[in-house]
């Protein structure tokens, strides 16, 4: 039997791309720079950032929903991507400012003097006078862009190799990934780590060389870039999990030992997916932080990664669109509820203020979703499409313990 073309196998990819295109066009039409201005620039930024989070969630779904590793350290890669692009943004911008001020001197500055002045400007706040070694490439956009992929990729590769090699899995692995991101965060929190300690990198919303472009325009450009990245990597991820490779990956999730006995190099598959997901997450981060404008080590604390897991779980793991929907819905809802704009509920004797109660509601929703709707929001689409899970004896145990697809078994 010949395989159907990739797109026909996964009609959901086309729908997601269409929705994304319509969304981007609508936001562009509503933006202040290219349209009516109904959507304020800050909102455009929030939407652009949400697309980046959706991309991170898609990568998380690859690792968790398909490979079965609950990584509680994904946001470490996200923040690393942000730090890598932030280095260039901050260095290049400081360089232009410092060069302009040094040009006031009667004697032109030497390259050394220029670098010293830049270093002083960036690291004066942590009391350091030397440019740390990790900033050696900060002057070059190309090199830093390579580092965006390289640093998180290498970290994931080394960490994954160490962990998978010694067959750490399940809860242990989750805790270990959490420890990894905590270690990284604590290291970055130090002033002498070379990343400005808890000050983090700031002023990232100003793009060097694009001073003449307004923030309104820039925000739309970043929205386009984020949408394009989401589209590109969504298709890549969908393609990856649709073929034989995807079948092996899902098989590893369902019964790792059996796949190993069948002769597949389980560790290799795991490493590839884990590293690829880390790189995709890093790209999402590199697009996110120029829109956020500031990055600091708090972004790497374990809680951020756990929230990512929450989004994916609520959206529905094991389905790429589920992860994206979860990230978009939950993060937008969170910012709406915690932003103080949600109307309070007046109960007799007590006023439920959503700023105070949103976290409680989110936590409980999360417990309820885990208990009663393990497929999350994406389960609705399954139900609508009539692709209800085949009736088997007993309860559906969810993606972890035996959600093999009957269709695949027949093919």
């Amino acid at each position: 039997m010949t395989r159907k073309p990739f797109i026909l196998q996964n009609p959901s990819v086309l729908i997601v791309l269409a929705v994304l295109a319509v969304f981007t066009a609508a936001v562009t039409a509503g933006s202040a720079a290219y349209g009516s201005g109904v959507i304020p620039t800050s909102m455009v930024k929030v939407l652009g950032k949400t697309l980046c989070l959706a991309l991170a969630a898609v990568a998380m779904d690859l690792v968790w929903g398909y490979l079965g590793i609950l990584s509680l350290g994904q946001m470490a890669f996200f923040a690393l991507g942000g730090y890598m692009i932030g280095q260039w943004l901050m260095y290049a911008r400081t360089e232009t400012i410092v060069a302009a001020s040094l040009a006031q001197n009667p004697i032109p500055a030497t390259p050394q003097e220029l670098q010293d002045a830049v270093t002083n400007q960036i690291f004066g706040v942590v009391g350091s006078a030397d440019l740390p070694l990790v900033w050696s490439f900060a002057h070059s956009l190309t090199l830093q862009m390579i580092l965006i992929l390289l640093v998180p990729g290498l970290l994931a590769l080394v960490f994954g190799w160490l962990a998978f090699r010694s067959r750490v899995n399940g809860v242990y692995l989750s805790i270990l990934t959490q420890a990894m991101t905590l270690a990284l965060a604590l290291w970055l929190f130090q002033n002498d780590s070379g990343f400005r300690g808890n000050n983090g990198l700031s002023g990232l919303q100003n793009i060097p060389g694009l001073d003449h472009v307004s923030q309104a325009t820039l925000s739309v450009w970043f929205l386009w870039a984020s949408a394009a990245a989401l589209a590109l990597f969504y298709v890549l991820a969908a393609w990856l999990v649709s073929g034989k490779f995807g079948s092996v990956v899902r098989a590893i999730r369902d019964d790792e030992t059996r796949v190993r006995f069948l002769g597949y190099p389980v560790e290799g598959f795991k490493l590839v997916v884990f590293t690829l997901a880390a790189m995709i997450t890093a790209i999402a981060g590199a697009l996110y932080y120029p829109q956020a404008g500031i990055i600091n080590p708090a972004e790497l604390m374990p809680i951020a990664s756990i929230y990512l897991a929450v989004w994916v779980a609520i959206g529905g793991r094991g389905r790429l669109y589920g992860a994206a929907i979860g990230a978009v819905v939950v993060s937008l809802l969170s910012s709406w509820f915690t932003g103080g704009r949600a109307p309070s509920i007046n109960l007799p004797g007590y006023v439920v203020n959503w700023v105070d109660w949103w976290q409680v509601a989110l936590g409980l929703t999360f417990v309820l979703v885990t208990l009663f709707a393990p497929k999350g929001i994406a389960g609705i689409f399954d139900w609508l499409g009539g692709v209800l899970p085949p009736r088997r004896q007993g309860r559906d145990l969810g993606p972890n313990d035996g959600a093999f697809q009957e269709a695949e078994a027949k093919a």
């Binding site: 004697i107 010694s166 242990y172 130090q190 936590g363 999360f366 208990l371 393990p374 145990l397 313990d401």
Partner: protein, 634 residues
Amino acid sequence: MIRLLAPLFALFLPLAALANPALEAVIAENIDQIEQPSRRTVEPLVAQIAATGPEGIALLQAWADRRLGLVDGRAVILNADSMTDAVTGAPVTGEARSLRPNSGVRGVIEAALAGSALSDPDPRRRAAALDSLSRGADAEGLAALRAALDDPDPVLAARKARLERLLTIQFDTDSAARVAAIEGLAGDVGLDFRAALNPLLATRRLAATEEPQANIARELSVGSDALPREAAVALLAQQGVLQPPLTRAEQRSRLAANIVDGRVAGIPVTQLDDQAMRDRAYDTLETQGAVPPAATEAEAEATLATYRFFETYAEPDPAVTDAAKAAQIRAQVRLGAMQGIDLGLDALSLASIYFLAAIGLAITFGVMRVINMAHGEFIMMGAYTGYTVQTVIADRTLSLVIALPLAFVVTFLAGVVLYRLVIRHLAHRPLETLLATFGVSIALQQLAKNIFGTQARPLTAPAWLEGSITINDVIGISSIRVAIFVLALLFLALFLFIMKRTRLGLEVRAVTQNPGMAASMGINPDRIAMMTFGLGSGIAGIAGIAIGLFAQVTSELGQNYIVQSFMTVVVGGVGNIWGTLAGATLIGGLSKVIESLNPSNTLAAQTFMILFIITFIQFRPRGIIPQRGRAAEA
């Protein structure tokens, strides 16, 4: 020293209302010498006055402070705005002629004063005099102390003997006596002894062409760690044998001052963005005499080659410095050992906290293969229970006695409810349990914020737990930490008792080993799981009180300990109390050791710690004490 003793003698002043005929006689006989004292002859007079009693002492004090005056041949003490008769203490009016004894005379008087306080009949005054003498003394203080070494109080006598040794080290003129004193105290780790040694070993740096006539500590070679090249050049420049090297900023400003028609020494300004070009321009200017000459590299090199660099002691006597050096090394060695012990105590207390925090996690994970992310919030719940009890019951001891079991009950119930409502329905899905309990965790944290507010709440320890147990200057541990250690031991014993000696423990062990078999033997695994979950949560509540006693109670309290608790469980190995104990000891000890290597940077310590654990897992993926048998395969 006078200033320090002055308040002491202020006590005597009211007593002066009584007349003192002996003092009056002495003053009358020696009025000339009081007016014009001479250092060589005044000593017997001072002794005579001191012997007349408190009024005499007060007079001497005033004399030494230049507050003594004469009115019509009578000695008067000048206060800020009044005068009193030195003999009777009665107020005096009139024109006083102030006496201004020279420093030699004042030295004699001070020595007599110090001596008299040191042999005062009141032990408290003697102790106070010793205190002030040990805070700041001089050669006279040493002489006075030696004169008053005998003391009826053995404690004070020992203090005096020790202080005499210390002052001998610092102020004696005889180097043999000083060396003997240093050697007598060698190996002592007291702060006072180390402080007495430090000035002896203070060094300064010196550049000279040949060996100077001084007590040389060591010769430094240029370019070594102790004396980098720049430091050597700076030292030479400071001693005036080398022109200070030109800084880049100075060079630039001097070049800028010599711009003529957009050129400096013929070089266009636009080309001066290069250090070599700047040097060339400067050299040209130097030959033209437009800028002052600066030391070139070659000059600096030549001067460096002719000079040798020494570190010399301020103390001239080599015998003394050698003895001091040896004593310091011995003190440092002993100090190191004691710091090791102190570190051990700290590590032990940290380990007991981790043990208390992790034990609940370990047993639930052992029995159910479930990580409870809300465990940290149970710790927090325990701490808030303690705080609430304290707001109701004012007596701290009583409130603690009530709070401990209450915290256990509250968190036990919370654990049981969590088990019944959530965890039971997620059996065999450990990752989902982890996530669901995380949802509970964020909800509980926010609930705590809503109820108790975001500011930190104090959980105050009873008075008998405040303070610390101090063994010497180095080793000390706060009582709370000792109490926590005892608490951890108590729970270890209790846990072992439950596990090994009760029906429940037997059933828990059976379910841990093989749930299916246990069930077919009539044990209800669901009930056992619920009980262990409750027990683990209850201990978390107790841990919360223990942590709250030394940390502030906030809604994030549990979070700060949860990752360490996970680490403890992972490193120790699950389902075994001894594994948890080993894990807690390892993690507590290791974090203290890493912290002590770099005390200023606790963040780095935590980072290295986590890296160590990640590496450790590589070699023992199942922890220090792994589970064996069939349960391990599950």
